[in-house]
């Protein structure tokens, strides 16, 4: 059984959220393979002089009925800029689905935390948990209101809390400063997070203090995305591991220096 494929997907929609963010809605010509929350794709950036390698992007959402998946992307450099110009009707080449996935236990009380575009993989995770009857709470952080993306989508699956650094939406400050952490009712069993490394490290510290689990999704630089080049390693308790195959999701305690 082939699990990973390389395939041209049809761009059903390129939803521009702002100058900085967009969501690609892509359709496979064949039934989608099984995709787990936390997995990612390697996308080819055509016609971009300075983009040689594919770009890794988390799978934001999946719909098996329409054989579509979504990618939520932040414009950072030339590759993502070029992708942001993709038009409906074009095709994009994907290698997918790649990587491991978030762990899901039936009796989990899950706190999903995303910083900026780091929330990308958490929507599919929230949906997945919801399907399994797991209650999720989502905390989204961003520099400003315009960095809080698609909060309503997340509200479908649970309560959503927001922090912004400039107080333009939700509580003021970083996600780690949100009142939820000091609430007497804090009873989460696991944090699932994705975002800038300093944010995830701070969340890992909180998890350690509170004695709960915390899974982090890393965004290491990748070349192949399929475990062939060994470029994307992170230092773990068992030595260097490839983030594209043994990650991108890790229980933080497994990572050295966290």
């Amino acid at each position: 059984m082939k699990k990973k494929l390389i395939q041209d997907l049809l761009v059903v929609e390129n939803k521009i959220l702002s100058e900085k963010y967009f969501i690609l809605h892509l359709q496979s010509p064949t039934p989608l393979p099984e995709i787990l929350p936390g997995q990612f794709v390697q996308i080819e950036v055509k016609d971009s002089k300075n983009t040689f390698l594919r770009r890794p992007l988390s799978i934001h959402d999946v719909d098996y009925k329409t054989n579509t998946l979504k990618l939520m992307v932040q414009v950072l450099g030339e590759g993502t800029k070029k992708l942001s110009l993709t038009k409906q009707g074009e095709y994009l080449s994907l290698v997918y689905p790649l990587g491991n996935s978030f762990s899901i236990n039936d009796n989990e009380k899950a706190l999903l935390i995303g910083g900026g575009c780091g929330i990308a993989p958490l929507l599919y995770l929230a949906r997945h948990m919801n399907d399994k009857g797991i209650k999720v709470t989502v905390l989204i952080g961003g520099a400003s209101q315009s960095d809080i993306l698609e909060a309503d989508e997340y509200r479908k699956y649970g309560e959503v809390y927001i922090t912004t650094f400039d107080a333009s939406l939700g509580e003021k400050g970083l996600v780690t400063q949100h009142s939820i952490f000091n609430a007497p009712t804090f009873d989460f069993t696991r944090i699932y997070c994705c975002g800038p490394e300093p944010m995830m490290k701070a969340l890992a510290r909180i998890a350690r203090e509170k004695g709960i689990d915390c899974e982090v999704s890393l965004e290491n630089m990748m070349a192949c995305g399929i475990g062939a080049c060994l470029c994307c390693v992170v230092e773990t308790q068992d030595g260097n591991k490839c983030t594209c195959t043994e990650g991108p999701v890790y229980e933080f305690k497994y990572l050295k220096g966290w």
Partner: protein, 301 residues
């Protein structure tokens, strides 16, 4: 149908397209994408005497039409290869060739002799050209006496096809090739990566943890082609060419320059199914040009 079979000493390849060491894992990573037994051969990761963790992250930087890597020979060591990996791959119908690396001549010899006993492995590639390890590696490949010493020592210990992989970071690559030919190599392969560097101007820091790393991809193709041409003119043993091959035309360029076979490295990262396309492309080319045998392309220039 034109003939695609080529020979590297005693090794008969069903076609000249192989995958480069460090760029194709142990082949298994690509099985979802195509039937890897269609390949002429698979060069597996650099394998050392004992387990190595390689260099610290970051190990990769994208560059214009290429990439730098500083993996640094991360591998589980030859014994783990023999016990864990070899049994899984040995019955796949293509040649697996282990890329043998080390810090000392003794280490090279140890690895080579252990591999000599494996029934289904008929060749090794001596990596005297890895730019990403502090000791050994490229040092052996940038001076004739040490290249000769390591090749001679391994030659005594290894009795099947011995391919020596040359470093491009030298003044005179033909001289190096002649040296290892004299020392008993059955074939040479080239090029390994060119030593390069990338800097993050915003952070004012090198991108790689090791500061320098090895450049691969289409950017190096003109240099690789030139070296293959120079080496093929100089030596009598077969030459395996590589460096920036992305498609059939690139592969054919290397054969015209004198390569008997080629290896595809970085291209696998961009299109994990690129190799069968290259094989088909070579066949199409031969048909289009009414050439019956791929061997007729070798060294036309």
């Amino acid at each position: 149908m034109p003939n695609l079979e080529v020979k590297i000493k005693d090794l008969i390849l069903k076609n000249p397209v192989m995958t480069a060491s460090g760029c194709f894992g142990y082949g298994e990573e690509f099985m979802d994408f195509f039937d890897i037994s269609c390949l002429g051969g698979i060069f597996v990761k650099g394998t050392t005497g004992s387990k190595r963790e390689g260099n610290a992250y970051p190990r990769m930087a994208e560059t214009p039409s290429g990439m730098l890597n500083a993996v640094g020979l991360q591998n589980k060591g030859v014994d783990a290869f023999i016990s864990d990996i070899y049994p899984r791959i040995k019955d796949i119908d293509t040649h697996f060739i282990v890329n043998v690396s080390g810090s000392t001549i003794d280490e090279y010899v140890t690895v080579a002799s252990k591999l000599n006993d494996l029934d289904k492995l008929n060749a090794i590639e001596l990596n005297i050209s890895c730019p990403n390890v502090k000791e050994g590696g490229m040092a052996f490949g940038t001076s004739c006496p040490s290249a000769i010493a390591v090749t001679e020592a391994v030659r005594k210990a290894y009795h099947k096809t011995l391919i020596v992989k040359l470093s491009p970071n030298v003044t005179n690559i033909a001289e190096m090739a002649l040296a290892v030919e004299g020392a008993g190599a059955d074939a040479v392969s080239l090029i390994n990566t060119l030593l390069g560097m990338a800097i993050d101007v915003e952070r004012r820091k090198p991108i790689l943890s090791t500061i320098t790393g090895g450049l691969s991809g289409p950017a190096v193709k003109p240099v690789a082609l030139r070296m293959v041409w120079q080496v093929a003119k100089a030596v009598k043993i077969p030459v395996i060419g590589m460096g920036g091959i992305m498609n059939a035309a690139d592969a054919i360029e290397f054969m015209l320059a004198g390569a008997t076979a080629v290896q595809v490295g970085t291209a696998n990262f961009i299109d994990p199914a690129v190799c069968p396309k290259i094989i088909d492309g070579i066949e199409d080319y031969l048909i289009r040009h009414r050439i019956n045998d791929v061997n007729e392309l070798i060294g036309v220039i």
